[in-house]
């Protein structure tokens, strides 16, 4: 029966991927989930594992500082992914115009994306340096500031400065996807709308944007997943400071595991981060579906 063979094939094709994922991530994932309900600690001295139900979750969620970290993470995610989206689309629209040197600019735009996160973090840390940073010097020489100031040392600006660095690195990907999608917008559609009397803004909102929304959503989902578990860039740029103003949820996971050696509790923080991320993605996904059907309808 070839239906059964198809079914076998389905699993044969999946098997290698599932095997690798199971060994490297799925089993640890399941284990982490289990650990999050226990009081396990990292220790070389064996001690019995105690099941403590939701205690870890309650501890985490009743902690105002962790809740703040979640809001902060959400802020980072929404602002940086949002800016990447807006900037990316704007840049794509710009690059979609014909002007002298547009091909060169198109090639240059991708460069920030190629800069490794660690290099990006280190480079921007140098740019933001309170004494010798290029940003201070530039603004000073332009007369925009009268004194050198602290950028990532000031809680009022630190998170936004990290976001700027993150947006700088990641907007090219969004711009590239948006640009490619823009090129698939049928010219007839815009012409028809123009004849109906729609102005450029109206055309952008009601035709262009819905058209490119599908592809845009895929890259936004990717960026959201990455942004919500942001760690490296903050670890290198600010270490969570000043005064915890850049300490994201991933930092709590890191602290619980590596600094406080409470793997049970750390697991619950991790599950919370992944859970919220999953909710975000599902929300995205369903709205992307709606957008996509709206665009084709």
């Amino acid at each position: 029966m070839f239906g059964r063979r198809r079914k076998q094939e389905k699993w044969i094709l999946l098997a290698p991927a599932i095997l690798v994922l199971a060994l490297i991530t799925l089993i640890p994932l399941a284990n982490t989930f289990w650990l999050s309900f226990t009081d396990t600690r990292i220790s070389a001295i064996p001690s019995p594992v105690r099941f403590i139900g939701l205690e870890n979750y309650i501890y985490a969620l009743t902690d105002p500082e962790f809740r703040e970290a979640l809001y902060r993470t959400l802020y980072f995610t929404i602002v940086s992914v949002g800016l990447e989206g807006i900037l990316g689309v704007a840049v794509a629209v710009l690059l979609n115009q014909k002007f002298r040197g547009h091909l060169i600019l198109r090639a240059l735009i991708i460069l920030p994306w190629a800069v490794p996160t660690i290099v990006n973090a280190v480079a921007w840390r140098l740019i933001y340096h309170p004494d010798y940073g290029a940003l201070n010097s530039l603004l000073f020489q332009l007369g925009l500031i009268s004194d050198y100031r602290s950028w990532i040392g000031d809680p009022a600006t630190a998170m936004n400065m990290v976001i700027l660095a993150d947006v700088w690195k990641n907007f090219p990907l969004v711009a590239y996807v948006a640009l490619a999608a823009l090129q698939t917008v049928p010219a007839d559609l815009n012409k028809a709308a123009a004849i109906e009397g729609a102005g450029p803004w109206k055309r952008f909102w009601s035709i262009t944007l819905p058209w490119i929304m599908g592809p845009l959503m895929v890259v936004m989902v990717l960026r959201t997943i990455e942004a919500f578990r942001v760690f490296d860039i903050i670890y290198v740029m600010t270490g969570g400071g000043p005064a915890d103003s850049t300490k994201t949820a991933s930092f709590y996971v890191y602290q619980e595991y590596f600094n406080y050696l409470r793997s049970g509790s750390g697991a619950s923080y991790a599950v919370l981060v992944a859970g919220i991320s999953a909710v975000l993605i599902l929300f995205y996904y369903s709205s992307a579906k709606r957008q996509a059907t709206g665009a084709t309808a």
């Binding site: 094939e9 389905k10 094709l13 999946l14 290698p16 991927a17 690798v20 994922l21 490297i24 991530t25 640890p28 982490t32 710009l94 002007f99 600019l105 198109r106 090639a107 240059l108 735009i109 991708i110 460069l111 920030p112 994306w113 190629a114 490794p116 996160t117 660690i118 290099v119 280190v122 480079a123 140098l126 004494d131 010798y132 290029a134 010097s137 590239y176 996807v177 490619a180 999608a181 698939t184 599908g214 592809p215 959503m217 895929v218 890259v219 997943i225 919500f228 578990r229 760690f231 490296d232 996971v253 890191y254 595991y257 793997s263 750390g266 991790a270 981060v273 992944a274 999953a278 996509a292």
Partner: protein, 279 residues
Amino acid sequence: MRRTMLQSVFLYSCVVALALFTIAPLLWLVTMSISAPTDLTEVPLRWIPSEFDFSRYGALLNIDGGSGERFLSALRNSILTAGGATVIALMLAIPAAYSFSRRGASMVLLFAFLATIMMPPITYILPLYSTFSAFGMLNKTTTLIIVYTAMLLPFATWLMKANIDVLPVEVEQAAFMEGASTSYTIRTVVLPLALPAIAATAMLSFLVAWDEFFYALIFTNDLSAKTLPVAIADFSAGRVTDYGVIASVGVMATLPPAILAICFQKFIVSGLVAGSVKG
């Protein structure tokens, strides 16, 4: 359509602003890397170096020097690790994606794949560390390749699935009608059609692997396996009075992916978009 003068001015100001925003930080990184150390601690800064000093690059590219050995071995490890993981991840992701797209494998499973990358990576480090040490596999490029493969797989599978979804299914049916097996069809029909998608997925995967820091930091111990991000962290954590050194390492670490990105520019675009039409 002709542009009015005002529109042209606006357009070109946007172009210049964008170019500056994109290039300025990079240009500054390059400038730092060839400036004399004293130029970099002037207040306000000296934007154009008093002399062009390429000695740091010389040092980085000299295998016999301390920092050259550190940098070059990290470069080699990074290329092997990111390249190896990308190749293996694609080799696993393509059949899996085909199964999701054409053999009706459950989307719940795909979401389970994706869930593994939503977990903060820190979660996996300790269990993996003990597992790999039990097999004596710490501080090995192979180990990082395996870990990165697992890390890249979910998104690569998703992207490839979305791309295979939009390929014309009749072409594959035609191949089946002609008597080709599934694996033969994937190899001779699906893969050539999905080439842009594969290139885009490969590029994206390569960059993610090239970027990875925390696993590499914990899993590697010495020159034989340390990757560039770890080496950069080492360079900038030690006693550094000369920011130019960090800048030059940064520039060098950016070059390989930058070259790849520019070469594969076209593919990246079409591959990402073809796949995203269906989401």
